[in-house]
């Protein structure tokens, strides 16, 4: 019998029951919730008179709809304020821990949970948010669910699911200088497309992922959903264990030793077989940007937009106001966003600060720097990065999802381009008519300084 994959091991350990010729009942260890996708699930339970089964396995945060300035004041938008109040009321009523606005642990759900040690290897985790795939960086089965499923987990701590197929993405070799984890995942998606992973759960393997920090691994796993995969995982190793150890909710002493021994058994067996596999040479990857309206429409920053007959390409370029075959170098950019569950961790701000140090933000650029959590914001100050940003003409905002999906006031105006470290460049994603160019925090920082798209490789060499 072939060996088991990391995914198999975690999945199989959580199967409660199997419906004959049907789905399996999968046990969920941790359920993360936020204000946007939970209210209807709470209502559903209340209408049916069903209690929340395991409130102590749920953690809530307010992130999608929150302002990134003046968080100490009442939220001005009434609909947003109501949604946030419902989350507080629901959590209080059902005994669920909430890290609301202003709490020292508040932040984007996929930044907050890992940094508090809530996310641990070998777990199953869900959240009503497709970027829950982020937590796979710890060797966790983590995936986004709809609100009906949020209600199911509330009611039973389980979900009915059909086991997905397995996919492995291998990247090996040596990365060029200034190629960041964001570039790696944008490159992979540009090569295999936005639906190559649909129906699959992905594992990222190879020395490139092994050598990445946890922050880098989270950036990669975060974007698994952008290639259609419900989730993406990386085998837990010493980097993972070192990151988790000592965090607020990490296991301690004997419990730690027991869990650690188990976590070490999780990596994919050498003889395991995947349903689908892709392999890439790290040397082929360069700093990336997107030119279109899905994350698969990416090119190296020095490259040209494809020139081919394709109605989808033409529709995307009409929206972006770009031409086939053109280079994006020197395109003026007025907006830069560094933030989102993809790239708002301390490492991302270290990279940006390191670049802008001693330079000045271009006068035409509105740059929004939004830390992923209160903890990241605090760390920024502790490391003096806030001063570097201020001296370079940048202002830091308060934590939240912000301009990644523009549910709050952080909207990019119509027709404007935004070089963004977020995960989606869909039409209108960052505001009606806004044009998003996805990139790494380094590319975003360089754009903010030059006021235009720049060949980062030339700048730094």
């Amino acid at each position: 019998m072939a060996g088991k994959t990391l995914f198999d091991k975690v999945w199989d350990a959580h199967v409660v029951d199997t419906v004959p010729n049907g789905p399996q009942v999968l046990y969920i260890d941790k359920h993360l919730i936020h204000e946007v996708t939970s209210p209807q699930a709470f209502s559903e339970l209340e209408e049916r008179g069903i209690p929340v089964a395991r409130p102590d396995q749920i953690v809530a945060t307010a992130d999608h709809n929150t302002p990134t300035v003046d968080q100490h004041l009442p939220v001005r938008d009434l609909l947003s304020r109501n949604q946030l109040k419902q989350l507080s009321d629901n959590c209080e009523k059902h005994g669920i821990t909430l890290y609301g606005l202003g709490h020292k642990y508040n932040g984007i759900v996929h930044v907050m949970a890992p940094e508090l040690g809530i996310t641990q290897p070998g777990m199953t985790m869900v959240c009503g948010d497709s970027h829950t795939s982020t937590h796979g960086a710890f060797g966790t089965i983590a995936f986004g669910i709809g609100t009906s499923q949020v209600a199911q987990v509330f009611a039973s701590q389980c979900l009915l699911l059909t086991k997905p197929k397995s996919l492995r993405v291998n990247v090996t070799g040596k990365l060029k200088p200034n190629v960041l984890p964001k570039d790696v995942i944008l490159y992979v998606i540009s090569q295999i497309g936005t639906n190559a992973g649909t129906g699959y759960f992905c594992e990222y393997a190879g020395n490139i992922f092994e050598e990445m920090s946890m922050e880098g691994r989270m950036t990669v796993c975060n974007m698994s959903i952008e290639m259609g995969a419900r989730g993406g995982m990386i085998a837990p190793d010493q980097t993972t264990f070192d990151y988790v150890k000592g965090r607020e909710f990490a296991p301690e002493q004997a419990e730690w030793d027991k869990k650690l021994a188990y976590w070490k058994t999780l990596p994919t067996d050498a003889d395991a077989v995947f349903d689908k596999e892709y392999s890439f040479d790290a040397a082929d990857i360069e700093p990336m940007i997107t030119y279109g309206t899905n994350p698969g429409m990416g090119i190296k920053v020095t490259g040209n937009i494809p020139d081919k007959e394709d109605v989808n390409l033409e529709k995307a370029l009409a929206y972006m106001n770009f031409k086939k075959g053109e280079s994006l170098i020197d395109k003026p950019i007025n907006y830069v966003f560094i933030g989102s569950c993809t790239n708002s961790r301390i490492e991302d701000f270290r990279i940006a600060a390191n670049f802008v140090k001693g330079k000045q933000k271009a006068a035409n650029v509105n740059a929004w720097l939004v830390p992923g959590s209160q903890q990241v914001a605090k760390q920024l100050i502790a490391e003096g990065l806030d001063k570097i940003f201020t001296e370079a003409g940048f202002a830091l905002r308060q934590p939240g999802c912000s301009a990644c999906l523009a549910m709050n006031d952080d909207k990019i105006p119509e027709g404007e381009y935004c070089v963004s470290t977020s995960n989606r460049n869909f039409e209108g994603r960052q505001g009606q008519g806004a044009r998003t160019i996805l990139a790494s925090p380094l590319m975003a920082a360089a754009t903010a300084v030059s006021g235009k798209i720049t060949d980062i490789t030339k700048q730094l060499n």
Binding site: A13, V16, D17, V19, N21, G22, P23, V25, V36, T37, P39, Q40, S43, I50, H64, N65, D77, L79, N82, Q83, G122, G128, D129, S130, T132, I145, G146, T147, S148, Q149, A151, Q152, A155, S156, Q157, C158, L159, L160, T162, T194, N195, T198, I225, G228, R230, K259, Y262, N294, N312, K315, A406, M407, E414, R424, F426, E427, G428, R429, Q432, G433
Partner: protein
């Protein structure tokens, strides 16, 4: 959940690929705390311009096309997990979405809201879109019991998870099933060794 057994109706063609959940329902409409009213804003930024005027070129504003079946391009529903997208599709009155490929989360959300996602081959989809464009009053019939789609393009047997099929036909949802498993789930929790 409403039962779904059989449906005969006309269809609306939307031959755009990779229709993401931000197009189906833009994020600024996600502030509601109930499931009502999302249908009014389905495909909002394609249906209306920024001043709220109808975009006459968009198919939902074209009186020629109507019906409770949406026929859409490849990779329908990619992007976010927001179930608001399924509520918007259902709220507008669609009961079936036909495409050559569905994103995972949307497919699940649709099934949990009584919307039937039917996957057809790219060739079948192309012919079907052509037929509907040519003849907007084309009737399609969907029989869930037999898993059969009939159209002028031909009869096609579509796939659906057998469990989900039973749920759709009977109007059951997963919560009913999971609650019936309470004892098994509790036994599983007791056996956890890690």
């Amino acid at each position: 959940m409403e039962k779904f057994i059989k449906l005969t109706d006309t269809a609306v063609p939307l031959p755009i690929e990779n229709i993401d959940t931000d197009q189906i329902i833009p994020a600024r409409f996600l502030k509601s705390t109930d499931k009502q009213g999302f249908g009014d804003n389905v495909f909002r930024d394609w249906r209306f311009d920024h001043e709220g005027n109808k975009n006459e070129n968009f198919v939902l504003n074209d009186d020629m096309y109507s019906g409770s079946i949406l026929v859409a391009g490849d990779n329908f529903g990619c992007g976010s997990s927001r179930e608001h997208a399924a509520w918007a599709i259902a709220g507008y009155g669609f009961k079936v979405v036909i495409s050559s490929f569905f994103a995972d989360i949307f497919r699940g959300n649709a099934l949990n809201n009584g919307i039937l996602p039917i996957q057809v081959t790219p060739e079948y989809l192309k012919s079907l879109l052509d037929v509907i464009k040519e003849k907007p009053d084309t009737q399609l019939t969907i029989n869930l019991e037999d898993q059969e789609l009939s159209s002028p393009v031909g009869e096609l047997e579509f796939e659906i998870d057998p469990y989900k099929k039973v749920c759709m036909i009977n109007g059951y949802d997963d919560i009913d099933f999971l609650i019936s498993k309470k004892e098994t789930i509790e036994a599983f929790e007791r056996e956890q060794t890690f």
